[in-house]
Amino acid sequence: MNAPPPAPTLPVSLAANPRLSSWVKLTGDGRVAISPGKVEIGQGIVTALAQIAADELDVDIGRIEMIRASTAASPNEGVTSGSLSVQQSGRALRHACAEVRQRFLAAASERLGVDASLLDIHDGTISGPGNVRTSYWELAGDVSLDHDAKAGAKAKMVAKRTVAGHSVQRVDIPDKVFARPRFIHDCPLPDLLHGRVLRPDISGAKLIALDETAIRAVPGLVAIVRDGGFSGVVADSEAAAEAALKALLKGATWSAGEPLPDEADLAGFLKSQPVETTVIDTRTTAATIKKAARTLRRQYIRPYIAHASIAPSCAMARWNGDRVHVWTHSQGVYLLRADLAIVLKLPAENIVVEHMESAGCYGHNAADDVALDAVLLAKAAGGRPVRVQWSRHDEMSHAPFGAAMAIEIEADLDADNEIVGWRHAIWSNGHAARPGRAAQPALLAATEITTPYPRMISTNPPAANGGGGDRNSVPLYELKAWTITSHRLLTMPVRTSALRTLGGQGNVFAIESLLDEIAALRGEDPIAFRLRHLRDERAKEVIRAAARRAQWKPQKQSGIGHGVGFARYKNTGAYCAAIAEIEGTDDIRVKRLTLAVDVGEAINPDGVINQIEGGAIQATSWVLKERVRFDRTRITSTSWTDYPILTFSEVPAVDVEIVQRPEIEPVGAGEAAHGPVTAAIANACYDCLGVRVRDLPITRDKIIAAMEQAS
């Protein structure tokens, strides 16, 4: 007996926001307004979503107008993160547009007296036999989209898609090339004032006294704001606001602050803190009892990493009575609104949060913090809008960082050096303290005001959402037994939250490094070793594709090394394999990265390649150069000199192949490359120099230290 087919369901974002008109509107000027809840953060998402809509509706992509997310009208799609926008917003839009198309075809059929199955749509014009025709816009009055989406709308077959699945030019790029204002920084509101916030250099210090004498003489000063330990200025120009802040700083007295960990012993710090311990996964099989001949025990360290976006965080806010309008580059307008409502003690309906673009966003940076700063300063602006922009120094010291990690793996090996047991333990702060998710706000100024909230200690998303510190810690490889344990710190002297991949980069670095080491022990080719331990064909294919493309394994040459790394992001997302070619003696340069990626259906293939290239280069920067520096009292890496990132001359050649899977639901590409590239560079370092650096970043000092340890 056959089970009945499962009832069709709506994509998750559409189920949460079923009203069709909240996603799609035909506008009178022959255009289509598409309103996703996800936002452009430099990843090209608005273009991919426009492609999906253009395809399902059969309109030229030039007719699509992408509406920026706002709590005033947009569907609530939570946060733009986790490489989920194509998956969530894309599926919702595809489904919604398919239903809109059906509704219009039904209306056209009625008006034209032609069976709907005989009608065709071309660029919004609906035509049928006998040269009858109408259009979306002619029918717009007859077709209400104020209906909830129904499950079961049929999207186009893959072969019928002419826009999605093909590379198109990004819709936002011309504005950026011709310097037409698009970034929040470049869009002044009428009557705009400028604000700056006073923040301590000493970590955790509180403002205890403020002498305002010096500042009163600053020309252009409009207001000094003080709310407990929160203080800032409002002025009639940015220059005046800067001058006022300087004067304010002179009059500030701070408490002693809270000590920071010992930067030179991150593992010692991470392993000595109170923790919440979770067993993430265990696997036992009959073979588990097989006696281990030896156990390899290795520790891997990832430092704190800064978002270090090129633009400092910026926001604008304007009060009107007890209502406030906020312009922000937050990743989640509804989530930010929820936190603002808690701090302001206002109903959420009194707050409108509207998204505007900023520079690349790689996770939970200071975008939300600066929004509350602007809201608090704008209270003193008499109804005028206030724009607040953080300094580079604040951006590099007060914004949350990606969390440091200590990862210990014990691998039990039998007499043939085959893996018979695997224990992976992670010590790390949580990787998420995002706004809008808890009863307490996650915003910086909320910890400074008169009745302050405690600093939110980062937690980890549940395993179903890919986990946090434990992300990618469960091997995709067929090992006989494993135990994966996550120790989340309950103290947080250095503020951490979500940065690209969360714990994924650290865990993939650790797993792939140790696998490489075991393959080398066995004298087995590291790619053959990986393929032998994988059953997932998509996984194997990206590894094979990268190997083919890099002509694995090139002849060994002195001073050159090659290494491989692989992961499926979150174990549910994009598959990515990377091969690194490096050169060096006691310092290394990454010459070339060859990657293969499988994202299922690639909506905008060039966009996917762009994201993978970008992720690979950013990961190279993390691996070779980046760590947040601090002494026992303050963050010291507060400028580009103290927090260097990869420069043009240091960037490797990057070559990307997409393994085409148009029949498989698409997933995001933004975070797929970081883990594999990190591991590939580390493994290439071993191939080149014969030492394993297990403590990131891989700098000259670390290589020399590893050489000394090995000798």
């Binding site: 953060i41 430099g42 990843q43 090209g44 030019q169 990004r170 936002d172 790029i173 011309p174 950026k176 090339v177 011709f178 310097a179 204002p181 970034f183 920084h185 470049d186 002044p188 120009s237 940015e238 220059a239 270090a308 976006s309 090129i310 633009a311 400092p312 673009e357 900023s358 520079a359 690349g360 966003c361 790689y362 922009q389 300094s391 580079r392 060039d606 762009n610 994201q611 290239e613 970008g614 992720g615 690979a616 280069i617 950013q618 920067s621 400028s639 580009w640 000199t641 990132i645 990869l646 420069t647 043009f648 001359s649 960037v651 050649a653 990057v654």
Partner: protein, 156 residues
């Protein structure tokens, strides 16, 4: 405050400004030209680059007194959608960005390079862009775009 005179995108400009105020502040705050971006305020990231007498320079720490009588070109002066600079066309053709915040500074550095070296090697392009930071990892596409523009300018 003294009147400071200079050339801005080919036109005579005169600004009544505090001589210590930065050129970036004057461009963005006084003149409403938001192409040059603030990134660090210390001349370390290149987001605010403008051309001064043909050389790409940071405007975020450039006092107005030093701009007097100079020839300043901002990204707004390079080209428009109707009459794009070859570099602007090439950046679009190569889809050479992700967020695009660093792009106006990149355009200026590249334009200054092509002025003094119309047919640079790839290594020369990279060196010329080393004072511009890009965090999204679009470097290689940008380098390809500059080389494309150079060869287009050579044949036209």
């Amino acid at each position: 405050m003294p009147m400071i005179q200079f050339q801005l995108n080919g036109m005579a400009a005169a600004v009544d400004a505090d001589p210590e105020q930065t050129l970036l502040d004057v461009l963005r705050g006084r003149l409403g030209m938001t192409g040059a971006h603030f990134g660090c305020g210390a001349g370390e990231c290149g987001a605010c680059h403008v051309m001064v007498d043909g050389r790409a320079m940071a405007s975020c720490d450039m006092p107005m007194w030093s701009v007097a009588d100079k020839d300043v070109v901002t990204v707004e002066g390079l080209g428009t959608a109707e009459q794009p600079h070859p570099l602007q066309r090439a950046l679009i053709a190569e889809q050479a960005m992700q967020c695009g915040y660093c792009v106006s500074g990149i355009l200026i550095s590249a334009a200054a390079l092509l002025k003094r070296n119309p047919s640079p090697t790839e290594a020369e392009v990279r060196t010329a862009l080393d004072r511009n930071l890009c965090r999204c990892g679009s470097h290689n596409r940008m380098v390809r775009a500059v080389l494309r523009a150079a060869s287009e300018m050579a044949t036209s």
